[in-house]
């Protein structure tokens, strides 16, 4: 198949057997690759009721048909499994060069099942596949391990690794790659750790076959020219997502002190320009990307290198924990990267613990005598280490804020800023109802990857609770994850305003399969409904109640800043959901109707 690696690599860690099977054409036709293939295989192959950290859970590492081709950001890789954090679908995306390397080795998906008796790493060198002893690396940080494996195997190998947090089964442990990129959310690192799989090392030396070489080269040239002509390119290259920080504060959307406010008075110390001047060393790119958002940095204060902090980390560790010095945020980022923790969930969890301490829900007897307060970097560093080691307060926090709130009681639920068990990411949304709906309905939990709608809220009026806002969220939930399915980055469209019209033609030139953009969106809608079915199957009683916003969003107005006093009434959140289900063709409890499933070809599942 043109554009594809051509094979699914099956890895059974229990028996130690590995084998390659052809990538089925129907799978490529109906689900494309990346997130689509991961979601489909998860639904089909992991039995209902599987414990996420048991050998029966599977980890699907999937490139897409654009991965490794001459397309901006063609290094995206989807990692799917049943989530130990939420009990539902986890689909995390990592950039870098992993998916490109997999394609050149001839693999579209690496499907990992079972669990090894002792730590191993998966070694892939084109057709040569081995499970090698990883005992010397077990216990080491992700960055340390990647460096060691590159030294041992050669710089050409692309490495994905877990840190101690994944080994320990922390519910929001991540998988790390390329010295600073992560498949962050949903606990994919814990699943890898439960399988005693320390790392994946892959090298591919082959060319990826292309259907229409001349047309592909012509379209690629046009796509790169469009990126380079974008008036926002220079600013984006200079700041990456850190350029969002100042604006988020100006519009009152910056998570501050556990989402009690949307404005952090210390934000100038976290701004993109402050960061650029203080710590940034290199603008670091993913595969094929002309607009590198990676800001590889060195903190003199703490003596560490880190890729970042990008916006989310600045929001959840900076604003949410009230740390106003970018170097402290950079160090916390480094700790999370080395330990293998999702910075979003970790920052949110630390902020949650601090607020619970301030409110007397927990006390010094729980924190081992440590006084938890906002704005104290040492508190943040200590709690991050405790979480990774599952010690002290970390033992409870390691299972996520929803679990911690249930454990601590005393009204803690009101301060757990999560949806479906996943900690909310970097946009305080009490004055952005479309964005709040995006968080409520995202298919992995409270994450902004599937839909980001704040500009729309601002453009049409922030207080409005209207059907067009719902329609916009749904539209974005089809477009944005399509990139995760194709295996390339969405940010050239999102941030540089590169026309979406480039993508269907170049995909066709590569694969030889004629498909319109509408055809692709139809597949994306199919995948959206499939992951919904997965939640319905796996989480007992799953339905409308699981799409509810965090209590804080409707119980409490924003404390300070430009959106002070704002909140989204519970009744308005319900209205948004009603409109959402209706527009999606789901019933009033959020279940896809038979008609919708038939329309998408999911009735045959």
């Amino acid at each position: 198949m043109f554009g594809y690696g051509g094979r699914i690599l099956r890895v059974d860690l229990s028996s130690g057997r590995t084998w390659a099977e052809p990538m089925p054409e129907e799978l490529a036709r109906d689900y494309l690759g990346g997130r689509g293939v991961g979601a489909y295989l998860l639904y089909r192959e992991v039995p209902q009721g599987t414990e996420p950290l048991s050998p029966a859970n599977r980890l699907y590492v999937s490139a897409g048909p654009l991965s490794g081709l001459l397309v901006p950001g063609a290094g995206k890789c989807d990692i799917a499994c049943k989530s130990p954090l939420t009990g539902g679908y986890a689909g995390a995306s990592v950039g870098g060069l992993l998916s490109a390397e997999m394609k050149c080795a001839g693999y579209d998906t690496i499907a990992i099942q079972g669990a090894a008796a002792k730590p191993v790493y998966l070694f892939i060198d084109d057709d040569r596949v081995e499970l090698r002893d990883a005992t010397p690396y077990w216990g080491q940080g992700s960055l340390t391990t990647e460096k060691a494996l590159k030294q041992a195997l050669g710089e050409e190998f692309q490495i994905a690794t877990i840190g101690p947090a994944g080994e320990a089964g922390v519910s929001f442990a991540c998988i790390s790659h390329d010295f600073g990129r992560q498949a962050g959310r949903g606990g994919v690192g814990a699943v890898m750790g439960s399988k005693k799989l320390k790392a994946i090392a892959v090298r591919g030396s082959h060319a990826i076959p292309v259907a229409d070489l001349a047309r592909y080269r012509e379209l690629a040239r046009a796509l790169y020219a469009a990126c380079k002509a974008s008036p926002g390119l220079e600013a984006w290259q200079r700041y990456g997502t850190a350029g969002v920080t100042t604006w988020a504060n100006e519009i009152g959307a910056f998570p501050t002190r556990n989402f009690s406010s949307g404005y952090f008075e210390g934000h100038p110390g976290l701004s993109g320009e402050t960061m650029r001047q203080a710590i940034v060393v290199t603008d670091k790119a993913c595969f094929g990307c002309p607009s590198p958002c990676g800001k590889y940095s060195f903190s003199k204060k703490h003596g560490v290198h880190v890729e970042g902090p990008e916006y989310e980390t600045t929001a959840l560790i900076g604003g949410d924990c009230a740390l106003g010095n970018i170097e402290d945020v950079a160090y916390a980022n480094y700790l999370c990267d080395e330990l293998g923790l999702d910075t979003i969930s970790a920052g949110n969890a630390v902020a949650f613990a601090i607020e619970c301490f301030e409110r007397g829900i927990i006390g010094p007897q729980d924190s081992g005598g440590l006084t938890l307060r906002f704005g104290d970097p040492e508190v943040v560093f200590t709690l991050l280490r405790q979480i990774a080691g599952r010690q002290g307060l970390g033992a409870t926090l390691a299972r996520g804020v929803k679990h911690a709130a249930a454990t601590w009681g005393k009204g803690a639920e009101a301060y757990a800023v999560q949806v479906k068990g996943m900690e909310m990411s970097g946009y305080e949304s009490r004055n952005a109802p479309a964005m709040l709906l995006a968080y409520m309905t995202c298919d992995v939990g409270a994450h902004h990857n599937r839909a980001w709608a704040i500009t729309y809220d601002i453009a049409v009026g922030r207080d409005a609770i209207t059907p067009d806002k719902v329609a916009r969220v749904i539209e974005l939930q089809h477009i944005r994850p399509l990139f995760d399915t194709l295996g390339a980055c969405r940010l050239q469209w999102v941030e540089l305003s590169v026309d979406l019209g480039h993508y269907a033609p170049i995909l066709e030139a590569i694969t030889g399969v004629p498909r319109s953009w509408q055809d692709l969106l139809h597949i994306s809608e199919r995948i959206w409904n499939l992951t919904r079915l997965y939640w319905l199957r796996e989480v007992p009683g799953f339905g409308r109640a699981w799409d509810a916003p965090p209590e804080r969003m409707w119980r409490e107005p924003v404390a300070t800043g430009p959106t002070a006093g704002k909140q989204v009434a519970r009744a308005d959140a319900e209205r948004l959901l009603d409109m959402y289900y209706q527009q999606r063709g789901w019933d009033s409890d959020g279940r896809p109707t038979a008609a919708k499933l038939a329309e998408l070809g999911l009735d045959r599942l």
């Binding site: 050409e156 990826i208 076959p209 060393v281 670091k284 094929g288 990307c289 002309p290």
Partner: protein, 127 residues
């Protein structure tokens, strides 16, 4: 005329290597390209770019007289005349003469400039 590279601006994206392999071989394979991108991570966290300076040393040492300048003034290896001795690769001061198991002769940059079009960071130029 040769391909200049400002390593301080390189982001490590490898788009240049892809464009190169498409030009030289009509193939989508960054490992089959005529310029080197060397990452230095985690410390200091920079990329090093090595391009052919068209110094002509390869042509000087070639015992088969297989290396001559094209109409852009770039030295190119005539695969038919090449004996595969690899004296050129050994002598190259930039280590930018490359081999592949499936090819009879080594290959190198021919100063086509396709890489420049896909570099978003203004690393590369021809002059």
């Amino acid at each position: 005329m040769y391909l200049h590279a400002d390593s301080t601006r390189c982001s490590g994206c490898r788009a240049c290597q892809l464009a190169c392999s498409l030009h030289l071989f009509g193939e989508n394979n960054p490992k089959k390209s005529a310029l080197a991108i060397i990452p230095h991570f985690p410390d200091p966290g920079t990329f090093e770019v090595r391009t052919c300076t068209q110094c002509g040393t390869c042509a000087d040492v070639c015992p088969a007289d297989a290396i001559h300048q094209n109409d852009r003034g770039a030295y190119t290896i005539d695969a038919d005349a090449c004996t595969g001795c690899l004296a050129c690769q050994e002598a190259c001061p930039e280590q930018v003469i490359f081999t592949r198991p499936e090819l009879d002769a080594p290959f190198k940059c021919d100063a086509c400039g396709d890489c420049i079009a896909v570099c978003g960071m203004d690393v590369l130029s021809l002059s």
